[in-house]
Symmetry: C2
Subunit: 423 residues, 2 copies
């Protein structure tokens, strides 16, 4: 069997299993999650041993320390994965929802019911904890899943999937609902992206390159997102003393994630005070700066700060590190135009005590999350009380911003008549 | 400028215009719709003349009568298009909606607002009225649109778009919000499908081939649907006297549309009575039948009916004509298995007075619309009180079943703090 045929067979098996899974109860699916949590804890030693193989091969292949750390599974991390599973088990089941209940003008009784999407295809990079995370969220929402992990984590993913499938079996759920593509060939990903008759949604979890690859090659709808070129505009009517810690939080609290701040736009009137204060404050956190000419002139005299003149491409860069762009703007209009030109549509905000202006900003800026007097770091399933996060969508279809359990479902129309015919 | 560059420039112009359109008021957008209605009526003569060019070329190219009829614009049809516009103007504006208003556990005030998707790409076949229909629904929902019509209708589409753009201008809305790809080259469609940075959604309006083409070639999310292989299962507990007119309605009321019935599945116990009665009743409407062996044996003796033994592929065919498949099944389980194997996920129903069984069917069958004791012909934006219909989606992402105005929107998260930082 070729790789393509094998992937197709896995997708078909997932689809068939999804039909059975769809009819399972909340209790059964939650029992699976709790059982899997226990099994992971029990088999910690075997998981760590398998993970050691990946780490050794990764080290031999020259992966850097950060990559190896992402790959590493420790007893503590495994216990964390188990706790996450128990938390997901406690979340409300979106599949029990009925909504838009009404009688139509034609007399039919109508409502909508939440249903699983069907089969999720998930393509992800090195972190093996994604394997359990995705398996949990898929089964919780009644979806089968075909998983394609990174080649660096293949031994870890193998054992995690085996444990998850054993837990399905012990819970009376169909084992085939979780499929792992055990191949490191690129053809395997391509084959998955072609199964539009069998797979309902592709979720890429990884960098910009992976997202672009999926969008280019997939015949299946792809959730794209996770790329955040995020802005804060500091207006002349901002409280500067209160604004500074917010900007610092957005930049330094966790610089490697997509909702971290990339560019600060500063109203010209307040720039002479704000820019030097901001640069001095964040320099203590080892932030370095990419400044337009005006900002550079305001901060260049400061001792011990790392400044560079921003190239135009710098304002189109997601830094994912302790780098911050600073540009001076004439007014809010110029700031909004800058954001419209450079934002990736993830998270953008205004700091101002002018409520009317803030409302104009919130209405106009077309990002998944728009903020008033807040750090951009809240664009996250946990912070937005979704309970779980599958992905952060920056596209507009289906779901936007952090996606929780409900966003892994669709709905169907249920129509009840009395031997009714259309007039 | 190459075709590809030209299409890209149009998409970019649409995107820029969409930014302005998004900030227009409901009143402005409704004024556009009413003005366009008046303009179409006023310019009926010019439209009919342009349409005459298309009809003449179509006749010379050998288009059949049905195709020419789809292409034809008469004063009555133009008046109908104008009335549709006035009706859309009266529908509620989805963009005014705010929902999920709440205070998060972290203290931020949160809500979601409906926003336009941005830029719609619509690829459609010969009927020129789609041009106005799509323009109306796009502008109503604050979306810009790039339209790519069929080559047979190019002269008609040109004048309709010109009138629509003039109406945008007169209403103070950006003319560039409606773009018409005035090229008959296939490269133009391909170029549109590649503009994932500029276009948010592709809506194909046409046959299965067009949908497959878009899904294969697009980097932009595609709404697929409109293909209905629809079933009614007649259970042993059905009221046969009342079931017959429902089956007839589903098959003959408008056989050329996607929600028309394709296959009747009959419980074995009632087949000896139902099948001959059904065949005789529908034969009066010139229906011909594709029967499995058992159904064939039950009807073959009837005078003046057109029967054929069904090939297996017949049960995977959307007839779009006066043909009906009939298969005998052991029980409801077998009927559901048949539907799971052959349905396109559009509209499927059960006729039965057994409420528990009906609920099982409604829960299990995974189609966009599932029916109990009803014709399948109600899967339609008008019948489901949506006011307008953009497409009927048989995919699970974003929207399922008939899509109305709301389904042409997305949402954004609005988050308001008090100079708030993440803990």
């Amino acid at each position: 069997m070729s790789v393509i045929e094998a992937v197709r067979a896995q997708a078909a098996a997932a689809r068939a299993a999804g039909r059975v899974l769809r009819r399972s109860s909340s209790e059964q699916r939650n029992a699976f999650l709790n059982r899997l949590a226990g099994d992971l804890r029990e088999q910690t030693e075997a998981i760590v041993a398998a993970n050691r193989t990946d780490l050794d091969q990764g080290a031999a292949a020259g992966l850097d320390g950060a990559m190896l750390d992402r790959l590493r599974l420790t007893p503590t991390r495994i216990d964390g994965m188990a706790s996450d599973l128990e938390r997901v088990a406690e979340l409300a089941d979106p599949l029990s929802q009925r909504f838009d209940v009404r009688t139509l003008r034609n007399g039919l009784r109508a409502h909508k019911r939440r249903v699983p999407l069907g089969v999720l295809g998930v393509i992800y990079e090195s972190r093996p904890n994604v394997t359990i995370d995705v398996a949990a969220l898929a089964i919780k929402t009644g979806n089968a899943a075909v998983l394609r992990g990174g080649k660096e984590a293949i031994a870890s993913n193998r054992i995690l999937l085996r444990i998850a499938r054993d837990a399905l079996q012990s819970s009376g759920l169909p084992v085939e609902a979780l499929q792992f593509i055990d191949s490191i060939e690129r053809e395997a990903s391509l084959a998955l992206l072609q199964q539009d008759e069998l797979v309902d949604l592709i979720i890429p979890r990884g960098g910009a390159g992976l997202h672009a690859f999926c969008r280019r090659e997939s015949r299946i709808p792809v959730i794209t997102g996770g790329i955040g070129i995020c802005h804060l505009y500091v207006d002349q009517a901002a409280n500067l003393t209160r604004a500074l810690p917010v900007i610092r939080n957005a930049k330094v609290q966790r610089p490697t994630v997509c909702n971290a701040l990339d560019t600060v736009l500063v109203h010209r009137k307040i720039a002479p005070r704000l820019v030097p204060e901001l640069v001095q404050l964040l320099a203590k956190d080892q932030v370095e700066f990419r400044c337009d000419d005006e900002a550079l002139a305001l901060a260049t005299h400061l001792p011990g700060v790392r400044l560079a003149r921003a190239g135009e491409e710098d304002f189109d860069t997601e830094w994912l590190s302790l780098v911050l762009g600073i540009a001076i703007v004439d007014d809010a209009e110029a700031a909004m135009r800058h954001i419209e030109a450079h934002s990736s549509g993830h998270s953008d905000g205004i700091l101002s005590d002018d409520a009317a202006l803030a409302e104009e900003f919130l209405a106009r800026i077309d990002s998944a999350a728009v903020y008033w007097n807040s750090s951009t770091r809240f664009t996250d399933g946990g912070e937005l009380d979704l309970g779980a996060e599958v992905a952060v969508s920056t596209q507009k279809l289906h779901a936007r911003g952090p996606m929780g359990l409900t966003e892994l479902t669709s709905y169907k129309w249920v129509l009840e008549g009395d031997y009714s015919s259309r007039a």
